[in-house]
């Protein structure tokens, strides 16, 4: 629908108006809905309803039906009351966005929104991401003096620090004659890591740590001293099947026994080792390698232009590496 509407000048005007409206809204992670930021307009159904009431009234006048007057005025009264109820459904609510977890490019970002009602129960509140592909609404009820959580999602399109998009809450409860809505610009941003390369390239070969015990053995003979990620050409007998099955369950690769002194080996994930790929694809490959190396439990370091991260294997290290990759340049 938007594709066809995009050519209409009215659509552009509306977009501009919307952007202007949004820019007037301060960013905040907790939004208290008051009369100032809750808007209300009749829906098409509301206009149809008004037309129905007018026709009922005209019929009552022409046929002199006093009960017809009663019917028309009862509907009119209910419509007016429903306007207040619709507005009061959003008014007073507090919207709060929980901290957002980082994701990879192309994955869905999950936003946990907590709605708190200071008074009566609220029914049929719809939350959605206003701009962005995920346009569908998730509906929720908020209990009296209580909270409810709903989850929204949008697809992260670019890496780096990404602003949480504008969110919207709306409701048509109870009669659908009016639509109340609010626009919320959360202050939070989130980290989007580069998209891991798929299928992943095999990890580069680990090298002995300079200064460590200089034992160099052939890869397929000698004592087994550790494990490493599977490399193409590893003979099946070298695969540590038990560990590999766990690793595969966790979404990783096969794991081979490392006959060399892996404890003292270090894996450098190097920008330069990515061949002649364009920068973004190099970042993707380095991301995939970081994930694989961390899964394999190997000490690894990261070298990208302008940054070098020392060897380590902890979760914090993985996070640090991904963050550096996300924010590179």
């Amino acid at each position: 629908m938007q594709a066809t509407a995009a050519f209409a000048p009215a659509f552009h005007l509306r977009q501009r108006f919307r952007r202007w409206m949004q820019s007037r809204q301060p960013r905040t992670d907790t939004l208290q809905l008051t009369q100032r930021n809750v808007y209300i307009l009749p829906t098409k159904a509301g206009l149809l309803f008004a037309g129905t009431v007018i026709v009922l009234l005209l019929a009552s006048i022409n046929y002199q039906l006093n009960l017809g007057y009663v019917l028309a005025f009862l509907l009119a009264g209910s419509g007016v009351v429903s306007m207040h109820v619709t507005h009061a459904t959003l008014r007073g609510l507090t919207l709060h966005l929980k901290p957002v977890a980082p994701v990879f490019v192309g994955d869905a970002v999950l936003l946990d929104v907590v709605l708190t009602s200071p008074g009566s129960a609220r029914f049929g509140v719809g939350m959605k991401v206003v701009d962005g592909a995920g346009g569908s609404i998730s509906w929720i009820n908020v209990p009296a003096l209580g909270q409810a959580t709903t989850q929204l999602s949008f697809v992260a399109a670019t890496r780096g620090r990404v602003q949480v998009p504008t969110l919207g809450a709306e409701t048509r409860f109870p009669l659908g004659l009016f639509r109340t809505w609010t626009v919320w610009r959360p202050a939070a941003d989130l980290l989007v890591y580069p998209k891991p390369e798929y299928p992943p390239a095999s990890l580069p070969i680990a090298r002995p740590v300079p200064g460590g015990p200089a034992q160099s053995r052939s890869a397929d003979g000698g004592e087994v001293e550790g494990v490493r990620a599977y490399r193409r050409g590893d003979p099946p007998k070298l695969i540590a099947w038990r560990k590999a099955s766990k690793s595969i369950e966790a979404g990783g690769d096969l794991i081979s026994r490392d006959t060399s002194a892996s404890v003292h080996q270090a894996l450098w994930l190097d920008w330069q080792a990515c061949g002649s790929l364009p920068p973004e694809e190099r970042l993707s490959r380095l991301t995939a390698w970081t994930l694989a190396a961390h899964r394999a439990g190997i000490d690894f370091g990261l070298r990208i232009p302008g940054r070098e991260i020392a060897l380590a294997s902890s979760d914090a290290h993985r996070r640090h590496c991904l963050e550096v990759l996300a924010l590179w340049q």
Binding site: T34, Q35, A45, L48, F49, T52, L56, S60, I61, N62, Y63, Q64, L65, N66, L67, G68, Y69, V70, L71, F73, L74, L75, A76, G77, S78, G79, V80, V81, S82, H84, V85, H87, R91, G92, P118, G119, A121, F123, G124, G126, G134, S136, S138, W139, I140, N141, P143, L145, G146, A148, T149, T150, Q151, L152, S153, R172, F173, P174, L175, G176
Partner: protein, 686 residues
């Protein structure tokens, strides 16, 4: 997109009881079934008026739709629905020979409503069903506005609103009870607006011509053919309600004078020819005797200019917006057709005479004319009578008495269904078939009197009321429509002669209607306690009459009365409109103020914490909104130690009240006061 709702158990629906029957249905099916039920209920009272095929079609479609909903099956294609619609249109044409008018209109709306349920795909379709539903509710009032219909339709509106609320509660499976309560709340809050608008919305006449069959009412008209009034006898609709100040006149005196018909063309009676304005305003020579009867009349919209007032009214009643005028034939007419309900006061003199002076009055010649070539045998019969020695020189009064005697003894019978009469209707009636309704007797009487050279004319109107008054109100129905005759007696003037009284005295003296025989249940109750049934009936009639007076008959007259009671000196249409606009604006302002006040309303616990934090702020203890009472207690203890044990104790109490094992529902204001006082006490110690 994932929707997670961590509502506390029992929020939307208490699930303690095992769900039974329809509660176990999936939400969509249940909602659809509920809507079908509401639609069925809304259409049901129409079954009496609809053609059989329409009722059956609606029933089949609703049942089929219910089956589809239960089986969660796909809906039929649009082509199929369109096909059924075309068949229904054809059937409507076949039943009524038109698509316009009330009956075919109602039939089509019901069919559309039923077929629309087969197309409930989007929310928009649902809205169409709701609004069609409201229309159907209105169409019931065209047939009846009784308390029963009103009650049934109130349930319908409630059901439709509940279904509408259900559509807008998309989460989970809200119970029907909850949706019903929410819609009831909406309607109840809307009720004051409804009452206000009902009281003050200016009652005006119809904005444009209404198709005459709109109310399916036969009524008085300015012409009379054989069969016009017997048609009206089938119509139980109310024509007017009358409340007498003092005693009511006897039924035999209750003649409500409508159009007077003097010109006869052989088949149709027409009013006298008032060619000029001065003829219209010619003196009536009305003379009255005795005391007048004063009464208040509520006149239903009869859609004629004639005002059927009790005979004989001398002074014009005060009618807001109309200028009543008495014609020379004593008929009262308004200056235009009366299309709205009127309430007014009038006084009439049961003892009156018109004449004998003819000064200024239209000549009597018109009341002697008979069309050439019609009814030759009756005219011959009349001339024979006149020539007979006994009546050769008889007065008009004697001749009239002779005719009355002939009607009483000549084997005439009074019937509402006399059948069709041909071109020489009076011949056929007077000499052959001898059965007819009031109009047959009246026109035969007038034709014979004229044949005997006595001026005579037909008067139409209403005669008699319901036998018993309802809460002081006497009801005149369309079925009381009547036609009688008047003849001219030189020296006396016009004299009323009602030939129907000769053949069916009950019709005139007691009101034609007889009390219906008691039904089975009523009969049984009568045996148990006649007093109880009498009391029940009396209170029912009382309620029903209040309903009639305050809801159904509420008209501009009552609106003006309401304004007078509110202190307006000479209320007018404009006052009503201003008052309505003013009240609605006040209400709207009230709504806005409520919304503004509601904005400042926060969680009482949060408000209490704000007070406590402000008190601590005065002591120089900073805190954040998210700090729990426990945290504040720790900080207070760190700062003041034992000196602030009371404050710490209060904070601990608050912690227990709010988050403890059995939390209290709302904060304790005493605690807030104590805390603020204690904090103030601490200040000098700083």
């Amino acid at each position: 997109m994932a929707v997670s709702t961590d509502l506390p158990a029992g929020f939307v629906e208490r699930r303690k009881k095992p769900r039974v029957g329809w509660q176990r249905l999936p939400r969509d099916s249940r909602d659809t079934l509920f809507m079908l039920f509401v639609i069925g209920w809304t259409v049901l009272p129409h079954v009496a008026h609809l053609p059989l095929w329409c009722s059956l079609l609606t029933l089949v479609v609703l049942l089929w739709r219910a089956k589809l909903a239960l089986a969660n099956a796909t809906l039929p294609s649009r082509w199929f629905v369109a096909g059924v619609l075309i068949v229904a249109i054809a059937l409507t044409l076949w039943s009524f020979e038109t698509l316009l008018g009330k009956e075919p209109g109602v039939t089509m709306v019901v069919v559309l409503m039923a077929l629309k349920t087969l197309e409930l795909r989007a929310k928009r379709d649902a809205f169409v069903v709701f609004f069609l539903g409201f229309f159907i509710v209105l169409t019931h009032f065209l047939y009846s506005q009784s308390l029963f219909v009103a009650g049934a339709m109130l349930v319908s509106v409630w059901g439709l609103l509940t279904a509408l609320v259900l559509v807008h509660m998309p989460v989970g499976q809200p119970s029907l009870r909850l949706a019903g309560a929410l819609s009831l709340r909406t309607a109840l809050f809307g009720a004051p607006i409804m009452a206000l608008m009902f009281l003050l919305f200016p009652r005006i006449g119809p904005l444009w011509g209404v198709p005459t069959d709109g109310l399916a009412r036969t009524g008085l008209s300015s012409t009379l053919r054989m069969g016009t009034i017997s048609e009206m006898a089938q119509d139980d609709a109310v024509a007017m309600r009358i409340r007498f100040e003092g005693d009511a006149p006897p039924p035999s005196a209750m003649y409500f004078r409508g159009p007077v018909l003097a010109r006869f063309d052989g088949t149709e009676w027409r009013p006298p020819n008032y060619e000029t304005l001065s003829a219209l305003r010619a003196p009536s020579n009305l003379r009255v005797r005795g005391d007048p009867v004063r009464y208040e009349m509520t006149l239903e919209p009869l859609r004629i200019a004639s005002l059927p007032l009790l005979e004989a009214t001398r002074t014009a009643p005060v009618l807001d917006g109309y200028q009543p005028l008495m014609l020379p034939d004593l008929q009262w007419v308004a200056d235009r057709q009366v299309m709205e309900r009127l309430r007014f006061k009038a006084e009439s003199y049961p003892q009156f005479s018109q004449g004998p002076s003819t000064e200024g009055a239209p000549s009597l010649r018109e009341s002697l004319e008979l069309p050439e070539g019609y009814n030759p045998r009756t005219i011959a019969w009349a001339q024979d009578l006149r020539r007979s020695p006994a009546y050769a020189n008889a007065s008009a009064r004697t001749l009239a008495a002779a005719l009355m005697a002939h009607i009483r003894t000549g084997g005439f019978s009074y019937t509402g269904a006399p059948g069709e009469y041909g071109a020489n209707a009076v011949d056929e009636f007077w000499l052959d078939r001898r059965e007819g309704f009031c109009e047959h007797f009246a026109s035969a009487f007038v034709v014979i009197m004229r044949a005997m050279n006595v001026p005579a004319r037909i008067v139409t109107g209403y005669q008699g009321t319901d036998p018993l008054p309802l809460d002081e109100y006497y009801i005149v129905r369309q079925s009381s429509a009547h036609a009688w005759a008047e003849y001219w007696e030189p020296g006396t003037g016009w004299i009323r002669a009602d030939p129907t009284a000769a053949v069916a005295p009950d019709r005139i003296n007691r009101g034609r209607r007889l009390a219906p025989r008691p039904g089975f249940v009523e009969g049984a109750l009568d045996n148990v306690s006649p007093q109880l049934i009498a009391d029940l009936r009396k209170s029912w009639e009382l309620i029903n009459n209040r309903w009639n007076q305050w809801v159904l008959n509420y008209s501009r007259g009552q609106q003006i009365d309401v304004l007078k009671r509110m202190g307006f000196d000479s209320p007018s249409w404009a006052d009503l409109a201003l008052l309505l606009i003013g009240s609605l604006s006040t209400l709207a302002l009230g709504g806005a103020v409520w919304a503004w006040w509601d904005r400042r309303r926060v969680d009482p616990w949060v408000r209490q914490m704000e007070h406590l934090r402000a008190a601590l702020q005065d002591l120089g203890l900073a805190s954040a909104t998210h700090d729990a009472p426990r945290t504040l207690a720790r900080r207070v203890r760190e700062r003041y130690g034992a000196a602030a044990e009371t404050l710490v104790g209060l904070l601990d109490t608050l912690e227990r009240q709010r988050y403890g094992r059995s939390p209290s529902p709302r904060p304790d204001p005493a605690l807030t006061r104590a805390f603020v006082a204690q904090a103030r006490a601490l200040r000098p110690a700083r």
